[in-house]
């Protein structure tokens, strides 16, 4: 393997140039590593902005009564927190990871469509500037929840909703371009010998995720376009008074929305499937069934959307279909969890920071899965629906699910990205602060939900006071420990100890065969695929 590395390292010297200098490097770059870095920093910025909004919400909910904000602003905070975290933090972070890792994992020199790659990133800062600017407009920004149900988001929306619609269109365009690029790269740019069933799981999960994105982003674009027409051009898609149907909005939204939540978790499955074998020093258990499980989950995601709408008044047959279909998801998801545990079983485990986050992912994501199964039971869902039980459920799959996987990925690959090791002691401290913070924040929300607290309310009855106070304390612990994460990352980049090429004793995969930090151009000549570096 080392000969290959040396061969192309030497090759770089005379045929390619390094990055341009200054701002131009970042504006005009078509390099997958630069664009990956841009995506990751953008996503972290959005994560902090969305986090501040969450803390405003939690500060207001610390005690009963209205303390800091008015209900109108509270609704803008919950709405924008959701939109920013979903579209601005989690999705771009996964695209950033795909940019960095997919070419390096399949032995490709870059993404298939580098200029498209540049465009799909640079759309995002404009999209989010537009969306966040609505908060400063007369009448305020989006205040109708991240699910923007009509007619609250059409007839009754603030004037700024038109900017919101435009921003969603831009985000959708960016996602579609990014997905096309990822599919084109994976299907066309694999090194000779890297067959589909030899690809790392992270590449597989992203391939499937990209297809989901291409399938559902246009549906979202359709939904917001219909809103635009209802608001400005006199149509009545969602206006009952004009013969339209507000419930149709929810069907369209969730036909996008349910695959969307898997878009935010499938790459996480991929990351965890990379990390656990490394630190268990044992190959991934059940590679084939992992691939089929991800594909099954992706397929099922298209036929379960109405489980978000059990209370809208569907006929009995519809309710039963969506209940049964939703429960089916537990089977492939269970297979994945069993496979991860079997990978750990009789391994030789060590618990560096990425592994800690990955193990926490398995445990806490499974808890989120259990509450998901409970929510699938339609008669019980009537009691859970739109309460804090749901808030607890989806935060368990998104925060210690998606976000923990992104943090784990950062610790796992940052030595490869910048050639320096993070501080293991600080990394572990960050893990424990995050782990405690996340559980103190979200576990009590199961209880306040079961006790009957509706979601999206700025003030609450007195019996919910204790759990809300606890939840707010946890939120501040979690929030500030992510600022600490920023410090750890900056410290690593500036003054971390030099990393080896392999970085982790048990790491396998093409990305570990190149030097640390990864050179600006890698695999300009395709590497030889060996059994040691690819699934066999």
């Amino acid at each position: 393997m080392s000969e290959v590395v040396e061969a192309h390292a030497g090759h770089d010297d005379h045929e390619h140039h390094g990055p341009a200098k200054g701002l131009a490097r970042w504006l005009f770059t078509t390099n997958h590593k630069d664009i990956g870095t841009l995506y990751l920093w953008f996503s972290f910025t959005m994560f902090l902005i969305g986090g501040v909004m969450a803390l405003i919400v939690r500060a207001e909910l610390f005690e009963p009564g209205m303390q800091f904000v008015v209900p109108e602003f509270f609704n803008q905070m919950t709405t924008n927190h959701g939109l920013i975290m979903v579209f601005g933090a989690v999705m771009p972070a996964f695209v950033g990871l795909a940019n960095w890792l997919v070419p390096m994992m399949i032995g490709a020199p870059d993404m298939a469509l580098p200029r498209l790659n540049n465009l799909s990133f640079w759309i995002l800062p404009f999209a989010f500037s537009i969306m966040i600017s609505t908060l400063f407009m007369e009448g305020g920004g989006p205040n109708f929840g991240w699910t923007f149900y009509a007619p609250l988001s059409t007839t009754y929306a603030p004037d700024s909703v038109t900017y919101f619609i435009f921003a969603v269109h831009l985000m959708g365009a960016s996602s579609i371009m990014g997905s096309i690029n990822i599919i084109a790269t994976i299907l066309n740019m694999r090194a000779p010998g890297m067959t589909l069933m030899k690809m790392p799981l992270f590449v597989w999960t992203w391939l499937i995720t990209a297809y989901l994105l291409i399938a559902v982003m246009p549906v979202l674009a359709g939904a917001v376009t219909m809103m635009l027409f209802d608001i400005h051009f006199g149509t009545s898609f969602f206006n009952a008074a004009g013969g339209g149907d507000p419930v149709m909005f929810q069907h369209i939204f969730w036909f996008f929305g349910h695959p969307e939540v898997y878009i935010m978790i499938l790459p996480a499955f991929g990351i965890v499937s990379q990390i656990i074998p490394t630190f268990a020093r044992k190959p991934l258990f059940g590679y084939d069934s992992m691939v089929y499980a991800v594909a099954s989950i992706a397929f099922l995601s298209f036929i379960v959307w109405a489980h978000h709408m059990f209370t809208v008044g569907m006929p009995l047959a519809g309710q039963l279909f969506f209940m049964y279909a939703t429960m089916l998801i537990a089977i492939p998801t269970g297979v994945k969890v069993f496979n991860w545990i079997s990978t750990m079983w009789r391994g030789s485990m060590s618990f560096e920071t990425p592994m800690l986050f990955a193990i926490a992912f398995v445990v806490l994501f499974t808890i989120g899965g259990f509450s998901g199964l409970m929510l699938a039971i339609t008669p019980a869902d009537y009691q859970y629906h739109d309460t804090y039980f749901v808030v607890a459920h989806f935060h368990y799959v998104l925060v210690p699910g998606a976000i923990f996987s992104i943090i784990a990925a950062t610790y796992y690959w940052i030595p490869k990205w910048c050639g320096r090791m993070y501080d293991e002691r600080l990394g572990k401290l960050h893990f424990w602060l995050s782990f405690i913070g996340v559980n103190v924040t979200f576990f009590p929300q199961h209880f306040s939900g079961l006790a009957g607290m509706p979601r999206r309310i700025p003030d609450y009855a007195l019996q919910f006071a204790d759990f809300n106070m606890l939840s707010s304390i946890g939120a501040f612990i979690f929030g500030f420990s992510q600022v600490f994460f920023l410090y750890i990352v900056i410290k690593t980049i500036r003054s971390g100890k030099p990393a080896t090429d392999r970085v982790w004793e048990g790491a396998h995969g093409l990305e570990w065969t190149i030097p640390s930090p990864a050179p600006y151009h890698t695999f300009t000549h395709p590497p030889r695929i060996t059994d040691a570096e690819a699934h066999s």
Binding site: Y156, D245, T311, M323, A330, I331, R346, I367, P379
Partner: protein, 382 residues
């Protein structure tokens, strides 16, 4: 003596443990779903507990295996890694066993759901209509003269919400007039909305349904125990989503009949008011009551609103301009804004009073009186 002391100490310890257990039980009550009072809510609770225990058992097995492995299969404990990476039999087993568990869960779930959808054979029907941000309850009867409706709005004073006074026991869960239904009767609820989507939920009955404009959703309940049951709107419906509770009072049949009769009489009196003429003082008193209930959440108790979304009425063009324009605006609302049409919500006497109140409060001082007949005329010349 010594022995005696030990005995007492033991007793104390035992009592301490008992009280801890007792407080634990109380806490457990707040930790879990409410059992509720109806047959359906009990079935839902049982279903919830069944799934919860299944999840707890699966979780204990799965996490147990994982943590056992984490403790024993550590490199720091010198454990050497095995190299297996598949086991077909095991993989088939952990696909089939969960499938069987899921089927076992589907059966009771389906049974309860089918029972919930049995909406026929009702003894009475109430229409539940969501408004931004209050509920309207309309008692339907084939005899139109036995039909009446009223609004149910939050009564928690603004001082309590702003922490200026101590919060009462039913903070945010109290209304001026609850929905009243008789005990042990099958009551059918037709749930709909006037503006955006709301959701009507009474946890103790185990029923929740969205109130969707243009749609009628059905729910039903047979409540075996008299009492006051409290819930909330559960679908984000705008600014005051958190301030539109659902309160249902379940009454013994005789009490309910007496109340129903009194409501019918009150309805007749209300209609008679339409032809009366009031003094300035009467209009102001009545107008303030209507304003507080219907207008103050947007235009604020001091009339200053929350511009630009909710305009101020202090010295405004509408509240100091031509009276009939003011009446017509309140009657018809303003399309495309939160300003609702109140012609269907308030009687002419109430409309007259509130318009008069707005024209003579917070420094507004027009020299007119607004009577029910003026509202009728303005509506006619609409």
């Amino acid at each position: 003596m010594n022995k005696h002391c030990t005995g007492i100490r033991r007793l104390r310890t035992a009592a301490g443990v008992m009280s801890m257990l007792a407080s634990g039980l109380v806490a457990a009550d707040e930790l879990n779903m409410r059992v509720g009072v109806t047959d359906i809510s009990r079935q839902v609770y049982d279903l919830h507990m069944l799934i919860l225990w299944i999840c707890v058992v699966i979780g204990a097995v799965v996490f147990g295996a994982m943590f056992w492995s984490i403790i024993h299969h550590r490199r720091s404990a010198g454990y050497q890694a095995a190299h297996f990476h598949e086991n077909t039999r095991l993989e088939i087993a952990w696909t089939i066993v969960p499938t069987l568990i899921l089927i076992a869960m589907c059966i009771p779930a389906t049974r309860v759901l089918v029972a919930m959808y049995d909406t026929g054979g009702e003894d009475m029907t109430v229409e539940v209509r969501g408004y931004q941000w209050k509920w309207q309850y309309k008692y339907l009867d084939e005899d139109f003269d036995r039909t009446f409706s009223f609004f149910s709005t939050l009564t928690t004073p603004i001082e309590e919400r702003h922490n200026l006074s101590a919060k009462g026991e039913h903070y945010l869960l109290e209304v001026d007039e609850p929905l009243r239904i008789p005990v042990n009767k099958k009551v059918r609820f037709l749930v709909t909305s006037e503006d955006v989507i709301h959701a009507w939920w009474v946890p103790d009955f185990g029923i929740k349904r969205d109130a969707v404009p243009g749609m009628l959703n059905e729910l039903w309940a047979i409540v075996p125990e008299p009492g006051v049951y409290r819930g909330q709107c559960t679908e984000l419906c705008g600014k005051d989503h958190g301030f539109m509770p659902v309160v249902v009072e379940v009454m013994p049949q005789a009490d309910f009949d007496a109340w129903y009769a009194s409501k019918l009489v009150a309805e007749q009196e209300r209609q008679q008011l339409e032809s009366m003429v009031f003094t300035h003082e009467e209009l102001m008193t009545q107008g303030e009551a209507v304003y507080t209930k219907f207008c103050a959440s947007c235009h604020q108790p001091n009339g200053q609103g929350v511009p630009p979304v909710f305009p101020s009425l202090v010295g405004s063009k509408v509240a100091t301009g031509p009276r009939d324009d003011h009446i017509r605006l309140v009657l018809n609302g303003v399309t495309g804004t939160s300003m609702q049409a109140f012609s269907g919500q308030l009687s002419k006497a109430e409309l007259a009073a509130v318009v008069h109140f707005e024209r003579h409060s917070w420094g507004n001082n027009t020299d007119d009186l607004t009577q029910p007949v003026d509202v009728a005329n303005a509506a006619a010349s609409n």
